[in-house]
C-alpha cells in the first residue's frame, strides 16, 4: 500500500470516504512528519498541533454524516501571509512576530468551510520580498532536494513542505514569481491564477496591483480541486473579479490535439542554463506528440519586465508598508524619545534589510521630481509588455518556456548583490505585470535538481493551463518523484 503522505489530494479524499481512513489519523501522520523534518528544512513558522486535531475531529463528524465535499478532512498548510483567526500571522517578519490575527483571510475561510484541516503556517521571505526564502526573520528554508540549496521564494516554506511530503498541498502567493519559482526549484506544481481571481482580503499586502494568491501542490489535478474551492468573487477585495468559478477538475482530460503553443523566444536567452533548456525542449516534444503545434513567438518588451517590476513593486510596497507604525499593531521599539523616533526606530528595527531596501527604492521613485521619470515611465512600459502578451494570444493558446534560468542555487550565493537575486525572476515577472495566469510543472532533473516548465495563458485561462499541465503529467512522472530521503 502507498504511504499516506504519498497520496494525492484526490486519493486522500477518496480514502477518507471509502477506506475507513479518518482525518484525525491522517492529520496525526502529517504532523508527525512535519515534526520529524522541521529541524532540517525549517519549512514552518507555526505548527498547529491542537487546532489541527480539533479540525480533523470536526471533519470526521462531517464525513460520518455523509456530507458531500471533496476536501472534507484533507490536511493543508497556509503560507504565513494569510491571516488565520486566533493564530500568529507573521509574514516572515519581526514586525509581525507576535501578531495574532483577529480574523480569517477569505482564502482561509473558504478552505475551512470546504473542510480542510490546517496543519500549520509556512515560512516565507519577509513580507514576500525575496526569491530564496533567505530574508525570513525566522531563518532560511532549505531545499529538500539538496539541503545546501535554497527552495526559492517567497513561498519557500510552502514549496519545501509540499515537496518533502509534509503536507499534501499548501497555499502561496505570487507577486513576481513567488509561487512558480519555488515550485520549479522544489520539483512541484504551482499555479498563479489571473489577477483578481482569488481574493486578497486577509492576504498581507506587498504590491497590490501584482499580488495574487494561489497554490503549491504535487499535481495539476490537486491544484484544480483546491482552486475550485479557493477562487471566486469577494466583495471585501476591491479588485476581486465578478466572474463565476468553473469546475477546474472537469476539463483536465481534454485532448491537446490542435493546441497552439507559443515558444517564448525571449526566454531562451543567454542567461538560460543549457541543460535546463534541454529539459524544456524535451517537455515540448511530449506535448507535440499529443497533437499540439509549436511556433516561436517574440515579445519584444519582455526583457524590460525586471526593471519595470523593480519600480512598480517597490512603489506599491512603500505605500502598503506605511501602515506599520509601531502604534496600532506590530513591533514597537523600546523607550521612544518622541513620536518620530517611535516611527523610525520601530520600522528600522522591525523590518529586515531587503524590506527596507524595497521601501526606500519605492520612496525614491515616488518622490517629488522622480515620479514621472521612474513610476509613470514604468507604468507605460508595463502597458507595452501587457500589449505584447495580448498580441501573442491572438496567435497562440498558451505560451511556454522555462520557469527559472537555472535549478536551485546554493544558500548565500546571491545575498550580497540584490540585483543578481532579482534577475532570478526574469521569466516569471511578465505574467504578474500583465495579470495573467501561469503554472509551473516539474519537467526533469539537472544534476539531481528539479527543473520547472512554465505555461502562461490569457486572462482567466486557468482551465486551459491545468488541462495542459495535467495531460503532460499523464505522460510523464516527474511530478511523482520525491526528493531522496523524503519518499
Amino acid at each position: 500500500m502507498t504511504a499516506l503522505h504519498e497520496l494525492s489530494v484526490a486519493e486522500l479524499s477518496k480514502a477518507l470516504r471509502t477506506r475507513g481512513l479518518s482525518s484525525v489519523e491522517l492529520t496525526r501522520a502529517f504532523l508527525a512528519r512535519i515534526e520529524q523534518h522541521q529541524g532540517k528544512l525549517n519549512a514552518f513558522i507555526s505548527i498547529l498541533y491542537d487546532t489541527a486535531l480539533a479540525e480533523a475531529q470536526r471533519a470526521d463528524a462531517r464525513l460520518r454524516l455523509g456530507e458531500a465535499g471533496a476536501l472534507i478532512g484533507v490536511p493543508l498548510a497556509h503560507k504565513d501571509i494569510f491571516c488565520t483567526q486566533g493564530h500568529k500571522t507573521t509574514c516572515g517578519s519581526r514586525m509581525l512576530a507576535d501578531f495574532v490575527s483577529p480574523y480569517d483571510a477569505t482564502v482561509v475561510a473558504r478552505l475551512r468551510a470546504a473542510g480542510v484541516v490546517t496543519l500549520g503556517k509556512t515560512n516565507m521571505d519577509e513580507f514576500a520580498m525575496g526569491s530564496s526564502n533567505e530574508t525570513s526573520y525566522f531563518g532560511p528554508v532549505r531545499n529538500p532536494w539538496d539541503l545546501t540549496r535554497v527552495p526559492g521564494g517567497s513561498s519557500g516554506g510552502s514549496a519545501a513542505a509540499v515537496a518533502a511530503r509534509l503536507t499534501p498541498a499548501a497555499t502561496a502567493t505570487d507577486t513576481g514569481g513567488s509561487i512558480r519559482q519555488p515550485a520549479a526549484l522544489c520539483g512541484i506544481t504551482g499555479i498563479k491564477p489571473t489577477y483578481g481571481r482569488v481574493s486578497r482580503f486577509g492576504m498581507i499586502a506587498f504590491a497590490s496591483s501584482l499580488d495574487q494568491g494561489g497554490l503549491l501542490t504535487r499535481s495539476a489535478e490537486d491544484s484544480a480541486l483546491l482552486l475550485s474551492a479557493m477562487a471566486g468573487f469577494d466583495e471585501r477585495d476591491s479588485t476581486s473579479v465578478e466572474l463565476p468559478v468553473p469546475d477546474y477538475a472537469a476539463t483536465l482530460e481534454q485532448p491537446l490535439k490542435g493546441l497552439k503553443i507559443g515558444l517564448l523566444k525571449e526566454f531562451f536567452d543567454d542567461g538560460l542554463d543549457a541543460d535546463t533548456a534541454q529539459r524544456i525542449r524535451d517537455a515540448l516534444e511530449v506535448l507535440h506528440q499529443q497533437g499540439a503545434t509549436l511556433r516561436e513567438v517574440s515579445l519584444p518588451h519582455l526583457p524590460l519586465s525586471v526593471p519595470t517590476y523593480y519600480v512598480v513593486a517597490p512603489a506599491e510596497c512603500s505605500s502598503n508598508l506605511a501602515r506599520y507604525d509601531g502604534v496600532r499593531f506590530g513591533y514597537r521599539c523600546d523607550n521612544p524619545r518622541d513620536l518620530l523616533d517611535l516611527y523610525q526606530r520601530s520600522r528600522g528595527e522591525g523590518f529586515g534589510a531587503e524590506v527596507k531596501r524595497r521601501i526606500m527604492t519605492g520612496t525614491y521613485v515616488l518622490s517629488a521630481g522622480y515620479y514621472d521619470a521612474y513610476y509613470l515611465k514604468a507604468q507605460r512600459v508595463r502597458a507595452l509588455i501587457s500589449a505584447d502578451f495580448e498580441r501573442a494570444f491572438h496567435e497562440v493558446d498558451v505560451l511556454i518556456g522555462p520557469t527559472t534560468p537555472t535549478p536551485a542555487f546554493e544558500l548565500g550565493a546571491k545575498t550580497s548583490n540584490p540585483v543578481t537575486m532579482y534577475l532570478n525572476d526574469i521569466y516569471t515577472i511578465g505574467a504578474n505585470l500583465a495579470g495573467l495566469p501561469a503554472i509551473s510543472v516539474p519537467c526533469g532533473l539537472v544534476q539531481g535538481l528539479p527543473v520547472g516548465l512554465q505555461i502562461v495563458g490569457p486572462h482567466f485561462a486557468e482551465p486551459k493551463l491545468l488541462n495542459v499541465a495535467h495531460r503532460y503529467q499523464q505522460e510523464t512522472d516527474w511530478h511523482r518523484r520525491a526528493p531522496p530521503g523524503f519518499s
Partner: protein, 96 residues
C-alpha cells in the same frame, strides 16, 4: 545613477526608517545598483503609451451602499497594540 550618503539619509527620513551607521554603506551601494537596473527603462519608447495602473482591462471601482456593515470590535483589535489605555492607543507626548 549613483546615490550619495546624503540621498540615503533623505530617503530613509521620507520612509520613516532609522538606519544604523553600519547599515548605510550597503544601502548606498545596493540602491545605486537597483537604480542602474531600472535605468534600462529609458530604452523604451513610450511617448504614445498610456500608463497602466491595473492589470485587467475594463475594470471599474465597485461601490457599495453607504450603510453600516461592520460592528465595533476595537477591544479585539487592540489586543495586538503595543500600548493601550482606556481603549486608546498610547504614543509619546506630542503636544507639550
Amino acid at each position: 545613477m549613483s546615490l550619495s550618503r546624503q540621498d540615503i539619509d533623505k530617503i530613509a527620513h521620507l520612509a520613516r526608517l532609522a538606519l544604523t551607521e553600519s547599515e548605510i554603506p550597503a544601502y548606498v551601494e545596493n540602491l545605486s545598483r537597483i537604480l542602474a537596473l531600472v535605468g534600462e527603462l529609458e530604452r523604451a519608447e513610450t511617448n504614445q503609451v498610456e500608463p497602466m495602473a491595473h492589470p485587467l482591462p475594463g475594470q471599474r471601482q465597485r461601490l457599495r451602499a453607504d450603510a453600516v456593515t461592520a460592528t465595533d470590535q476595537h477591544e479585539l483589535y487592540q489586543r495586538n497594540a503595543p500600548q493601550v489605555e482606556a481603549g486608546l492607543y498610547l504614543v509619546p507626548r506630542v503636544i507639550e
